[in-house]
C-alpha cells in the first residue's frame, strides 16, 4: 500500500488557482466518493480550505491524481503543474502531520486547520474511504497536532486579526469584562471581531449601519442593540472599543470627534479598530491622548510580528514532527510482515551458508552435481522450516496479532529485532528533507476577503 498526496496551497498557488481547485464544504463528501471510485485508489481523503486543496490517497499502485482533478473538477491541469505538489510515502506522512499541526498554515499555529482536518477525516470515515492505512495516518496526525500544541508555544500567541484585536484591547483595558463594543458598518469581518470580543468577556454591543435594517439584523445575531446611523456621534463615546468597517470613501471619525469623545468620556481610553479600506478613522485621531487607532495594516503587522516570534517554536515543532514521522513509520512497519520475513530468510540463509562452508571443509572437493544436490537439499530444508512461520506472519499482516507474533518469531530464530526494523525502514524511507523547503511564513494576511480571516482561518492573498 502506497501513500500519495497531490495538492496546492497558499505557498504554491495564488488564490485564482486555488479557487479553481477548491472543493466547497458541501461538495466535500461527493468529492471524496468520486475520488474513491478513481482507478487505483483504495483509500482517500480530501482537504479543502481557503488556503489549500489536497487529495491524499492510499493506493496499491500509482493513482493518477492529476487525472482525477481533470475528470472531477473539469479543469485543465496542464497549466497547473507548477503550482501542484505531489508527495509519496513518508513525505505524505510528514506533510499531513505538518498540515494538521498548523505548521503549513499561512499563519503558523492558527487552530482552525485542525477542525478542517477533522471534518475531512469524519467525512472519509462516513463515506468509507478512510480505512486502516489512512485511519492510522489521520488519527496519528490529530494526536501529533495535539502534541505540537501542548509541547510548543506555537498556538499560544495570537493568530489572526480578530484575535490580535482582542489581544490589543486587553493590553489597553486589561480585562474585557463589561467593556462595550461599537460596531460601525455591519460587515462579516466586523461581526466576527465583535463576536470574538464578546467571547472574551466584552459586554454591550452596539451596531450602527447606514442601512438600518442590516444593523438590526446584525444586532439580532450578536445580541446587541442597533443604533441609527445619524446618532453615531452622539453615542459612540459610550463604547470602549469601536470597530469600523464601512464602505465610506472618507473618514467617518476625525480629530474633532475624537476630542469630543475624550471630553465626554473624561479621558478614559478608547480603542478604534479600523478594518475598512479606505480607512474610516482619520490618522490624526491617534494623536489624541487616550485614543488608540489600529488600522488594518497595523493589525497585520502585529499578526506578522507574532508569526515571526513563533519561528523558534515552529522549529521545535518541526523536530517533533520528524520524530513522529519516524515513529509512525515504525508503527506501520510493525503492521507489516515483510521486514520480519526478510530477516528470517536472511538469518536462515546465513545459517545454511555457514553450515555448508563447514561441511565443504570436511567433504573436500565436490562435483558440480553433488554441489547442486547439497545446495538444493539445504535450501529446501530451510524453505520447509520457514514455510509455516512465514505463512502465519503473512496471514496476520495488518492485524494487531502481527507484532507479538513477529516479535516471538524473531526471538525464536535469534533475529535482531532492531535490525529487522531498520532493514524494513530503510527500504521505505524516501529522502526526508524534501518537504522542508517551503516552510516560511512570508505571506501577509489579507483582509480583503472578510469571511476568511476573522474566523481565524488563514486569509487569502491580496
Amino acid at each position: 500500500m502506497k501513500l500519495q498526496l497531490l495538492g496546492v496551497n497558499h505557498k504554491t498557488a495564488p488564490v485564482e488557482v486555488r479557487e479553481r481547485l477548491a472543493v466547497p464544504e458541501w461538495r466535500l463528501e461527493e468529492a471524496t466518493r468520486k475520488l474513491l471510485e478513481h482507478p487505483g485508489v483504495s483509500e482517500c481523503v480530501v482537504f479543502s480550505t481557503c488556503n489549500r486543496v489536497e487529495f491524499a490517497v492510499a493506493s496499491e499502485g500509482d493513482a493518477d491524481l492529476p487525472g482525477f482533478i481533470r475528470d472531477y473538477l473539469l479543469t485543465d491541469v496542464s497549466d497547473l503543474r507548477e503550482h501542484l505538489y505531489e508527495y509519496k510515502g513518508d513525505d505524505v506522512v510528514r506533510h499531513v502531520f505538518r498540515v494538521a499541526a498548523s505548521l503549513d498554515s499561512m499563519i503558523v499555529g492558527e487552530p482552525q486547520i485542525l477542525g478542517q482536518v477533522k471534518q475531512s477525516y469524519a467525512i472519509g470515515k462516513a463515506v468509507g474511504s478512510v480505512q486502516s492505512n489512512l485511519d492510522a495516518l489521520l488519527s496519528r496526525a490529530l494526536s501529533v497536532a495535539k502534541r505540537v500544541r501542548t509541547e510548543t508555544a506555537i498556538g499560544s500567541s495570537v493568530v489572526s486579526v480578530a484575535s490580535v484585536a482582542v489581544e490589543l484591547a486587553k493590553k489597553i483595558f486589561g480585562s474585557l469584562q463589561g467593556r462595550s463594543v461599537y460596531v460601525v458598518g455591519a460587515g462579516k469581518m466586523s461581526e466576527l471581531a465583535a463576536r470574538h470580543l464578546r467571547s472574551h468577556g466584552a459586554g454591550t454591543i452596539f451596531v450602527s449601519n447606514r442601512t438600518h435594517d442590516r444593523a438590526l439584523q446584525m444586532a439580532d445575531r450578536v445580541g446587541g442593540s442597533a443604533i441609527h446611523f445619524d446618532q453615531l456621534y452622539n453615542t459612540a463615546d459610550q463604547a470602549d472599543i469601536v470597530i469600523t468597517s464601512t464602505g465610506a470613501p472618507h473618514a467617518i471619525f476625525r480629530r474633532e470627534h475624537g476630542e469630543m469623545f475624550m471630553h465626554r468620556r473624561k479621558n478614559r481610553p478608547m480603542f478604534f479598530i479600523d478594518i475598512a479600506v479606505p480607512r474610516d478613522v482619520d490618522a490624526q485621531m491617534s494623536h489624541i491622548d487616550g485614543i488608540f487607532v489600529y488600522d488594518i495594516d497595523d493589525l497585520q503587522q502585529v499578526v506578522e510580528a507574532n508569526v515571526s516570534d513563533r519561528g523558534r517554536e515552529a522549529e521545535r515543532a518541526e523536530q517533533l514532527i520528524e520524530e513522529e514521522v519516524v515513529r509512525f513509520q515504525r508503527r506501520v512497519q510493525s503492521l507489516d510482515a515483510v521486514p520480519t520475513i526478510v530477516a528470517l530468510q536472511k538469518r536462515m540463509e546465513q545459517i545454511r551458508q555457514s553450515e555448508l562452508d563447514r561441511l565443504r571443509g570436511r567433504l573436500g572437493k565436490l562435483s558440480p552435481e553433488q554441489e547442486s544436490a547439497v545446495e538444493n537439499l539445504t535450501r529446501s530444508i530451510v524453505n520447509k522450516i520457514l514455510h509455516t512461520p512465514i505463512s502465519t506472519l503473512k496471514s496476520f499482516s495488518g492485524s494487531d496479532q502481527l507484532a507479538p507474533t513477529a516479535e516471538l518469531l524473531r526471538g525464536l530464530f535469534g533475529v535482531e529485532s532492531e535490525d529487522a526494523r531498520r532493514n524494513g525502514a530503510s527500504a521505505t524511507l524516501t529522502e526526508p528533507a524534501s518537504t522542508k523547503a517551503h516552510d516560511s511564513d512570508e505571506e501577509p494576511l489579507s483582509i480583503d476577503d472578510e469571511t476568511e480571516v476573522a474566523e481565524q482561518k488563514p486569509g487569502t492573498r491580496r
Partner: protein
C-alpha cells in the same frame, strides 16, 4: 545590631534588583519568579532592623538615614501590596533599585552620635514622620506608575508591542494602580502635614512657617491636591497626569533635600 539586619536586607534588595534588571532583558514576565520571595525576605529583615532601631533608640541616632530606611521599607510594602492586588511586579524595575539605594545609604551610615534635636524626643514627631513618609512613598509610587503608563501608551501608539509594552500590565491597570495610590497617600500626607504644623506651632510658633522646607511641603501638597482634582473632575491621566506627578515628585525631592538647607527642620540641633 539593627544595622546588621539592615545590611542583610540591603544585600537581598540588591539581589532582587539584579533579578529584576536581568529579567528586563528577557521575554515574557518582567520579573522572574525569584524576585518576589527574595524581596519578601528582605522586607522582613528590614522590618526587624527598623523595630530594633526603634526599640534601642537608634532611630534618633541618625534620623536622616533612618527615614531613608523607613521610606525604602514603605515603598517595598507598597510594591508587595500592589503585587497582591494586581499580580504585577513591573513597578519593581523602578522600586527595587530605589529601595536598594535608599537602604544602602542608610546601611552605610556612620552612626556617629549627633546632638539630637530635642524635638525627636517627643513621640508625636514620629507619627508626623511616618505619616509623611507613607504619603511620600505613595506619591512616588504613583509617579512610577505614570511613567510606566507613558511608556506603555507610547509603545501602543507606535504599534510596537514587543518592547516594554509586551511586559507591562494593561494600560488601565497601571492607571488604576497610580490613581489608587494617590488616593491612599493623600490622607496620610495631609494628616502628616497637619501633625507637623501643630508640633511646629507649639515648639517654635509662627516663625517656623517661613522655613523653605515648610513652604515647599505646602506647595507639594497643593500639587497633590490639584492632581487628585483633575483626575476626579476630568479624568486626567497619561501624559498630563505624569507631568503633574513628576512636578509633585520634584517638589517632594526638594522638600527632602531641604533637610540640608532648612534652618530649623534638620533633625539636629542648630
Amino acid at each position: 545590631m539593627s544595622l546588621f539586619w539592615l545590611r542583610i536586607a540591603v544585600g537581598l534588595y540588591g539581589l532582587s534588583m539584579l533579578y529584576a534588571l536581568v529579567a528586563l532583558l528577557r521575554r515574557r514576565e518582567i520579573l522572574s519568579r525569584a524576585t518576589l520571595p527574595i524581596a519578601g525576605v528582605a522586607v522582613t529583615m528590614h522590618f526587624v532592623a527598623l523595630v530594633e532601631a526603634f526599640v534601642s533608640g537608634g532611630m534618633a541616632g541618625s534620623p536622616l538615614h533612618q527615614s531613608e530606611s523607613l521610606l525604602a521599607f514603605l515603598m517595598m510594602l507598597l510594591f508587595i501590596g500592589v503585587y497582591y492586588l494586581y499580580r504585577t511586579t513591573s513597578p519593581g524595575i523602578v522600586v527595587l533599585p530605589i529601595a536598594f539605594l535608599l537602604s544602602l545609604s542608610a546601611a552605610l551610615a556612620q552612626s556617629a552620635p549627633q546632638s539630637i534635636s530635642p524635638l525627636l524626643r517627643s513621640g508625636w514627631i514620629y507619627i508626623h514622620i511616618i505619616l509623611i513618609l507613607i504619603g511620600y512613598s505613595a506619591l512616588f509610587f504613583s509617579f512610577i506608575a505614570s511613567v510606566l503608563y507613558l511608556l506603555h501608551e507610547r509603545s501602543l501608539k507606535r504599534k510596537n508591542l514587543n518592547g516594554i509594552a509586551g511586559k507591562l500590565p494593561a494600560l488601565e491597570t497601571i492607571d488604576n494602580i497610580g490613581y489608587r495610590l494617590l488616593l491612599v497617600g493623600f490622607p496620610f500626607m495631609t494628616i502628616g502635614l497637619i501633625a507637623g504644623s501643630v508640633i511646629a506651632q507649639i515648639q517654635y510658633g509662627a516663625s517656623y512657617f517661613q522655613d523653605p522646607k515648610i513652604i515647599l511641603s505646602l506647595l507639594m501638597w497643593g500639587v497633590y491636591t490639584v492632581m487628585l482634582y483633575t483626575r476626579w473632575n476630568s479624568g486626567w491621566r497619561g501624559r498630563r497626569a505624569a507631568l503633574l506627578s513628576a512636578f509633585a515628585f520634584a517638589a517632594a525631592l526638594s522638600v527632602w533635600a531641604a533637610n540640608y538647607f532648612s534652618g530649623v527642620h534638620r533633625f539636629v540641633s542648630p
